[in-house]
C-alpha cells in the first residue's frame, strides 16, 4: 500500500506541464461590464450595426438572468464586474506573412510544441492560432480558398462575410439560451468562423489552438461552423493554458449548422490549467456547444477529451431536426485533485428516423468530482428514432466521486432508447496481471485507462489521439487505490 501511495503521490504531484506566461503588451478594456464596454468592444472591432445590436440585446437579456446553480459543481461566486472583457495583443503592424508574427508569440507556440512552420510543413493542418481573443496568424488560407472553404477568425468573417455571419449567428444558440451564452453573446471577443460550401469535402483537418494569456482576462470565444449541402469538415480544437493563481472564466459558444447530407466532426482536447494540488486557481470552463442537423441525412459528431480546467461545465448537444440525421457524442472526462466536471450531452430528436449515440467515459482521481449529465429527448413526430447511451465511470482513489444523471424523455412509441451506465475501479487483479508481465505500475494503469477510453479515442483524428493518450498519462499514471 505504501508503495502505491508513493506512486500515487508522485504522479498526482506532477506540475502542470504547460504552465508559463509571456508578457505581451495587451490592449485591454477596463474591468467590469456595462453597455459602454460592449460598445467599446464593438467599436474596437469595427463591427457592423447588426452585431452591436445583437450584443446589446444579449446584454439586456443577460441582466435579467440569474446565474444557474443546478450543476454538480462548487465554486466561489464569480464577480462579473471584476473581469476584463476585452484584451488584444497589440498588433505591431499589419501582418503579411508568418515571419511578421510577434517573436514572443512565436516563442510561446514553440514551447507549446505548436510550431506553426512545423505544423505547416509536416501535418498539413491549417492553424488559426487564437491568443487572447484576437487571431494573429492564419495559415493555409490560400489552399482552402481554392475549394471555397472560408476558415478565418470571427472578426475577419464579420468584416469580409457579414451576410453569412448575420444569417447563421445565434440560430443554433440564441442569445438568451442560458446565462453564459447570453454573456458570451454580449462580450465575445473573437473566435473562429468556418464555412464549407455545397458539395465540398474540406481537404484538410481544421485546427485552432486556444490559449489564455493575459491575467484576469475572461475568454469569450465564439465559433460558428456552417456546412452546406453534402459537405464535410473535421474541425479540431485544442487548448493549454498558462498557470495562474486567480480563477479565470472561460465562457465560449460554439454553433454548428449542418445542411442536407452534410457531416461535421468536431473534436476537442481540453487541457486548460486545472488549478494546483490544493485546488487553487484553474480555469472555469462554462461552455455552450450545440449543433443543429438542419438538413436531411446530416450528421454532427462531438468528440471531446476533457482533462483540464478547475471546473468544466459543458454539454455539446445536437438538435436532430432533419429526417435521418445522426448525432454522436464521444467523451472522456478526467478529474484529478480538486477538479470538478459536470459534462454530457443533449440529443434532441425532432426529425423522423434520427439516430444518436452517446459514449461517455468519466475518470475520477484524487478529490475530483465527475458528473455525466445528459438528456435524450424524443419529440412526438420523431418516429423510428434510436438512441444508445453508455456512460462508464472509473474511480481511482477513495476521495473522488462519479455521478451519472441521465434524463430520458420520450414522447414517441416507435422510439428505441437504451441507456447503460456502470461504475468501477481498476482492480488489483488487473494491475497484478500487467505487473506480472513486466509492466511498471504506472504503465499498467495508463494502459488500463487508455483501454477504458478506447471507444472514444477511436473517434479522434490521428494527431489528437496521440496527444490525448499522452495527456491522460501525464494526468494520472500510477494512481491506484
Amino acid at each position: 500500500m505504501t508503495s502505491k501511495n508513493t506512486n500515487l503521490k508522485q504522479f498526482t504531484d506532477q506540475e502542470y506541464k504547460y504552465g508559463f506566461s509571456i508578457d505581451i503588451d495587451a490592449d485591454a478594456a477596463p474591468k467590469g461590464l456595462n453597455e459602454e464596454i460592449i460598445r467599446f468592444i464593438s467599436h474596437k472591432k469595427k463591427e457592423p450595426e447588426f452585431l452591436l445590436n445583437f450584443r446589446l440585446k444579449a446584454f439586456k437579456h443577460w441582466q435579467t438572468m440569474i446565474e444557474p446553480t443546478w450543476a454538480f459543481v462548487k465554486y466561489p461566486k464569480i464577480d462579473f464586474q471584476d473581469i476584463i472583457y476585452y484584451s488584444a495583443p497589440k498588433p505591431k503592424k499589419q501582418l503579411k506573412s508568418l515571419d511578421e508574427v510577434d517573436p514572443e508569440l512565436r516563442a510561446m507556440f514553440d514551447k507549446l510544441g505548436i510550431n506553426l512552420d512545423e505544423q505547416k510543413r509536416i501535418s498539413g493542418v491549417a492553424v488559426d492560432a487564437v491568443v487572447d481573443s484576437v487571431s494573429v496568424a492564419t495559415t493555409y488560407k490560400k489552399k482552402l480558398a481554392e475549394v471555397g472553404v472560408i476558415f478565418c477568425s470571427f472578426s475577419e468573417a464579420v468584416q469580409n462575410h457579414p451576410e453569412l455571419v448575420q444569417k447563421y449567428l445565434g440560430t443554433v444558440v440564441p442569445y438568451g439560451d442560458n446565462f453564459y451564452s447570453a454573456l458570451n453573446s454580449a462580450v465575445f471577443s473573437d473566435g473562429s468562423f468556418c464555412f464549407i460550401p455545397k458539395g465540398v469535402r474540406c481537404p484538410m483537418e481544421l485546427s485552432t489552438y486556444f490559449r489564455i494569456n493575459a491575467a484576469e482576462t475572461g475568454q469569450f470565444e465564439r465559433t460558428l461552423i456552417v456546412a452546406e449541402e453534402s459537405s464535410y469538415v473535421s474541425y479540431l480544437e485544442g487548448c493549454t493554458a498558462p498557470q495562474r493563481d486567480k480563477n479565470q472564466l472561460h465562457a465560449a459558444v460554439v454553433e454548428i449548422v449542418a445542411l442536407d447530407n452534410a457531416h461535421v466532426k468536431y473534436s476537442t482536447v481540453q487541457n486548460w490549467y486545472p488549478g494546483d494540488k490544493q485546488g487553487r486557481g484553474g480555469i472555469y470552463n462554462f461552455v455552450t456547444k450545440r449543433g443543429n442537423c438542419r438538413g436531411k441525412n446530416s450528421k454532427i459528431s462531438w468528440t471531446q477529451v476533457e482533462t483540464g480546467s478547475a471546473i468544466t461545465w459543458k454539454y455539446p448537444s445536437v438538435f436532430l431536426t432533419g429526417d435521418n440525421s445522426v448525432g454522436e457524442f464521444y467523451s472522456v472526462a478526467l478529474t484529478n485533485n480538486y477538479q470538478q466536471a459536470d459534462t454530457g450531452t443533449k440529443m434532441i430528436h425532432i426529425g423522423k428516423n434520427t439516430k444518436s449515440t452517446i459514449i461517455s467515459k468519466g475518470i475520477s482521481a484524487g478529490r475530483g468530482q465527475n458528473t455525466y449529465r445528459g438528456l435524450v429527448k424524443v419529440l412526438k413526430n420523431a418516429s423510428d428514432s434510436r438512441n444508445y447511451s453508455q456512460c462508464d465511470s472509473l474511480l481511482i482513489g477513495d476521495k473522488c466521486g462519479a455521478h451519472t444523471v441521465p434524463y430520458l424523455e420520450v414522447k414517441n412509441k416507435s422510439a428505441q432508447i437504451e441507456h447503460e451506465a456502470s461504475t468501477s475501479k481498476i482492480s488489483e487483479d488487473q494491475i497484478f496481471y500487467c505487473r506480472q508481465r513486466g509492466l511498471s505500475q504506472e504503465d499498467a494503469v495508463s494502459m488500463i485507462v487508455n483501454g477504458f477510453c478506447k471507444d472514444v479515442f477511436q473517434n479522434l483524428p490521428m494527431e489528437f489521439a496521440v496527444e490525448a493518450q499522452k495527456l491522460l498519462g501525464v494526468s494520472l499514471e500510477g494512481s491506484v487505490g
Binding site: 443546478w70 412526438k380 465511470s393 474511480l395 481511482i396 482513489g397 477513495d398 476521495k399 473522488c400 466521486g401 462519479a402 455521478h403 451519472t404 444523471v405 441521465p406 434524463y407 430520458l408 424523455e409 420520450v410 414522447k411 414517441n412 412509441k413 416507435s414 422510439a415 428505441q416 432508447i417 437504451e418 441507456h419 447503460e420 451506465a421 456502470s422 461504475t423 468501477s424 475501479k425 487505490g481
Partner: protein, 404 residues
Amino acid sequence: MLVFKKEEFLNTFKQKGWPSIKDERWKYTSLKELSAEKFDGPNNTSSFNFNSYLEGLNFLKSYLVFIDGRLNINLSRQPQDGGVYFSSINELINNNDTEILKKITRFNNQRTLNYLNAGQLTDGVLIKINSQVKEPIGLIFITTQKNIQSHIRNLIEVEAQAKVKILECYKGFDQTYFNNILTSVYLNNESSLELYKIQEESTRSYHISSLEVFQEANSHFESHLHTFGGKLTRNEIAVSFNASGSRAELFGLYAASGTQHVDNTTFIDHAVSDCQSEELYKGILDAKAHGVFSGEVLVRENAQKTDARQKNKNLLLSEEAHIDTKPQLKIYADDVKCAHGATIGQLDKAAVFYLRSRGIDEAQANIILTRAFAVEMLEKIKDEKMKEYFDKTLQNWFNHQTLH
C-alpha cells in the same frame, strides 16, 4: 411533554406550499391540478357491503381494513400471531404515547407533503413485529366517499431477527379523492420485511405515497409495488442503510392508460459499507398515459464494497403515451459495483407478426407480448399465494384494457 399539534404542521405546510415542477424532485409531476381541488376530511363511514372488495384477499389469515383512511376493526381480521402488535395511530396520539409521537413527528422535513400529512392526519397504524411471523398481514385501504382527502401515517417496526410479510392494497369507488400516505419502516438487526403493495385506486383519484426505510445491520427489505390505478400517482421510496451487511430490493410495475400519470421516485442512501441494493421498475404505458421514473443511488464516501444496481424498462404502446426517466448514480467511494440502465421501446413487430401468422389476432398478440413483458415482475415474488394474487390483479388490468 410532547403534544401533537396538527395546526402547526398545517401552518408549516401552508408556508412551504405544494412542491412545484421547478423543484428537481418534481420536475415531471405537476401537482397543480391536485392543489386546486377542494377536499373535505372524511365523514363517519356509512355501512357499505365491502365483501366484494375483500373477496380476493381470503388467502390472508389476517388483515386490517381502513375505510376512508380510518381503521375499522369490525371489518378487520385481527392477527392472532403473538409476535404481532398493532394499534391505530389515532389511538396512540390520543393516549399521548410520547415514544410514538416522537416517531411520527420525525420525518424528512425537506418533503413538504409530510407536513400536510401530519397537519391533516386521518389515521394509520403502528405494527410491531417481535418474531418470525409466517402468515402475511394485509392492510386494506378502501375509499368510499367523494371529494375527501385521507392522510395516512403508518409505522412498521421489525425487531431484531424478526421477519414478516405485509400486503398493502388500495382500492376506491370510482370518484375523485386524495390519499396521502406516509409510512416509516424500521428494520432492526437481522430482521426482514417483504412489503407488497397493489394500488388499484379509482382512475379519478390522487395517490401520493412516501415510504421511508431505515435498515440496521444485516437486515433485508424487499418491496413489490404494482400500480394500476389513480389519475395521478406518485410513489416515493427512500431507503437508508444505517449499518453494514444489509440488502434492499425494490421491484415495481406500473401499467397505465387513459390520461393516467404514474411517477415512481426512489432514493437509496448507501451511507455505510457492504450493503446491496437492487431496483427493477417496469412500465407499460398506453393511450395518453405519462410515466415517470426517477431513481437516485447515493454511495457515500465510506460506503466501500457497495453493490448497487438499478434498472428501468418501459414499453410504450401508443403514439401519445410518454415516459420521462432519470436514473441517477452519485458515487463517492471507489471500491464499489454500481450500474444502472434504462430502456424505452415498443413491442417487437416481428414477434407480433409471428403470433398473427399463427392465427392470433393483433389485439390478442399485443396482450400476450405485453403480459410477457410484465411477467418478469411477478417472477420476482417468492411467496406463491402472493404471486397468485398479483397475477390476478394484473389479469384484471388487462381485462379492462383495449391495448392500442
